[in-house]
């Protein structure tokens, strides 16, 4: 399969007082088109930092990230904005919907940036809302939607412009278990039906049962990268080397 994302020895450090905190350390990762991948790990392991780098909203301190074969570190600010606009969809932990827009208008927003006609925008936004099962709530503003509904609107917003890659940073962190499972199932369904590549981060082990590929981070390093086919395989992977490696890395 074609490689959509490639991270090569990527490191990211943040200054803290007079020292430095290394959030990512020499991370290598390759993600093929159409994959459904979870980045797992405890808090502070570097999940968000890695997603930010892949999503071109942050730059690595060293190493490089290739998206569609393009070295993102060589792009100008304008070019990265354009790349994000066209090729990447984002789902945020706190939904981050525009509160003064209705659900439909929120989904329309990425198409607004693509300067699409109003008619086409509305049609595609309605289709995206249909995909996530929220057509009846299209005219509601976010404050009248439940947490699960808001996150589904956020997913619709992330996929409406048919991006190559959808990045979801802890998308289930503010949801109860039932809504969280439904959301991951929805994302998986979109991944299968539309062929969209999904990369999401989570520290909720239960959600990983639905995930065919799990990359585990600890202290900024990839400690395991396991591909499993069924939920049983995931459980096995969790019980097996990967989980032990995580524990070992964290303890060390």
């Amino acid at each position: 399969m074609d490689s959509l994302v490639m991270a090569e020895r990527v490191s990211r450090s943040f200054p803290l007082d007079h020292s430095e905190v290394r959030a990512l350390n020499e991370v290598n990762l390759q993600v093929a088109t159409g994959e459904f991948l979870a980045i797992a790990g405890p808090s502070g392991s570097g999940k968000t930092t890695l997603l930010n780098l892949i999503g071109c909203i942050d730059s690595p301190t060293s190493g490089r990230i290739l998206l569609d074969g393009r070295d993102t570190s060589r792009l100008t600010r304008k070019q990265t904005a354009e790349l994000r606009r066209q090729r990447i969809g984002f789902v945020f932990q706190s939904f981050n919907l525009i509160p003064v827009f209705t659900a439909l208008e929120n989904v329309e927003y990425p198409l607004l940036l693509c300067e699409m006609s109003a008619k086409e925008r509305r049609k595609r936004a309605a289709e995206a809302l249909e995909c996530v099962g929220l057509s009846p709530r299209a005219a509601q503003r976010p404050d009248l939607l439940s947490g699960g509904e808001r996150q589904r609107v956020a997913v619709a917003r992330a996929i409406v412009h048919r991006p190559a890659l959808v990045l979801a940073d802890e998308p289930t962190a503010n949801l109860d278990t039932q809504n969280a499972t439904q959301l991951i199932d929805l994302m998986r369904e979109l991944n299968r039906n539309l062929g969209l590549t999904f990369i999401f981060s989570t520290h909720d082990q239960r959600l990983l049962e639905h995930t065919p590929r799990i990359v585990r981070l600890c202290d900024g390093r990839v400690v395991s990268d396991s591909t499993v086919g069924t939920p049983g395989d995931v459980q096995a992977a969790m019980k097996g080397d990967g989980h032990e490696q995580v524990l070992a890395a964290c303890l060390s």
């Binding site: 790349l83 984002f90 509160p99 003064v100 827009f101 940036l113």
Partner: protein, 408 residues
């Protein structure tokens, strides 16, 4: 673009209390400017019409030489064939009448005492038809029908000459060919001009009497009265070619060129109004910067997610500026409504300010509704708000996306 403007519009009303506070401030500034500007305009309009009706007229016609050299003898640079010029002027639309005048000076005597006077000779009927009536405190206006030569004298001159209405005086003046001449006049009335220096020298006699005294058929100038001050420029443009064919080259002056005191007062009011405008501008600017910055900080994560989705930075800047513009527009509309309503209420209540020094009647507190001030004040607050939004707008557009998304 319409969606984008819709976003800006809705953002304005996100925090209603803060928006209302800003609107009150902006609308208050606009209304204040409207009331102050409207009052100043009423004052200057009143002064303008008073100045014109006190004898200045709308346009004055002179011999062109009047502006090129000083007179060696009286009426040396006067108008010869003023009747023909007057006929030509009178035939133009919007002209109510033409009043010939002679300005002269000399000595006045009551047989015991002499004093200097500054004379003005007029055609009483023409003056009256134009509404140029002197401020008589005693006696009556000039009349050309009587056998006696009537004269109006200033209050100060009357006191110094110990003259009363009906008393006889002798006027002496140097004629146009340099000889000394004199006529007897009878005091018809006593005038108060408002200026003590002028009252001490004021003398007004009929035109024909002055021409006899000065031995000349000339006049110093012709004063043209119009039906409305707003027609001054139009009539001026028509008059120039109409007077071009006369044997003597004549020159015209509009009232504004001759009304020095009016211009000084108007400049003073303009200065005060400008100062008030500057205060309102900075008041709106300073307080709005804080409000808009608060709004920006509250929306940091939202702006971060918009930037993450690929929103161009200038869109963020434009969004904040559009929000400020919408806020300014609303404030301006409310301010114009409130200002006009308050102005109408003040006019209806017919307030009067205490009389200023030298006046016996209070000045009416009247507010004129001036469209130019409404537009100007509205633009002022809109520009001020848009300027105030540049700082938060630029800060928002320069946010680091990762930090903005992590903002709590």
């Amino acid at each position: 673009m319409s969606k984008f403007l819709l976003l800006a519009f809705r953002n304005v009303f996100r925090n209603r209390r803060r928006t209302v506070m800003t609107l009150v401030m902006v609308a208050g500034g606009v209304a204040g400017l409207l009331l102050a500007g409207g009052y100043f305009r009423s004052m200057t309009d009143g002064l303008r019409e008073n100045t014109i009706r006190n004898g200045l007229g709308h346009i004055q016609i002179f011999n062109a030489e009047h502006f090129q050299r000083d007179e060696i003898r009286v009426l040396d640079t006067g108008i010869d064939d003023w009747r023909q010029a007057s006929t030509r002027v009178s035939s133009i639309a919007h002209v109510r009448g033409v009043a010939p005048r002679i300005e002269f000076y000399g000595m006045v005597s009551n047989g015991q005492k002499s004093s200097v006077y500054m004379g003005s000779a007029v055609d009483p009927n023409a003056e009256r038809s134009l509404g140029f009536t002197p401020n008589l405190i005693e006696g009556r206006d000039l009349d050309q029908s009587g056998e006696e030569v009537g004269a109006l004298i200033g209050k100060g001159l009357a006191r110094s000459m110990n003259a009363k209405v009906g008393d006889g005086l002798t006027l002496l003046a140097v004629t146009s060919d340099g000889a000394l001449n004199g006529i007897d006049v009878q005091v018809a009335g006593i005038v108060q001009t408002g200026a003590a220096e002028l009252d001490a020298r004021y003398m007004r006699i009929p035109l024909v009497s002055a021409q006899r005294l000065l031995q000349s058929n000339r006049v110093t100038n012709l004063v043209v009265g119009l039906d409305s001050t707003s027609n001054t420029d139009r009539v001026y443009r028509e008059l120039v070619p109409r007077l071009a064919g006369l044997p003597q080259r004549l020159e015209l002056r509009k009232w504004i060129d001759l009304a020095t005191y009016y211009k000084q007062v108007r400049n003073m009011f303009d200065g005060i109004f400008l100062f008030m405008g500057v205060i309102v501008f900075f008041m709106v600017l300073m307080s709005s910067v804080n409000t808009l910055l608060m709004s920006m900080f509250e929306r940091t994560r939202e702006i971060g997610s918009m930037l993450a989705m690929g929103t161009p930075h200038f869109w963020i800047v434009a969004m904040f500026m559009a929000e400020a513009g919408v806020l300014g527009l609303f404030g301006a509309v409310i301010g114009v409504l409130v200002g006009n309503l308050a102005g109408s209420l003040i006019n209806w209540l017919d307030f009067r300010l205490p009389p200023p020094p030298g006046f016996t009647v209070g000045i009416p507190f009247h507010v004129v509704h001036v469209p130019a001030i409404m537009i100007g004040a509205s633009l002022l607050v809109i520009v001020s708000l848009i300027l105030a939004s540049t700082l938060p707008a630029l800060r928002a557009s320069r946010l680091r996306i990762t930090e903005a998304l992590a903002h709590v």
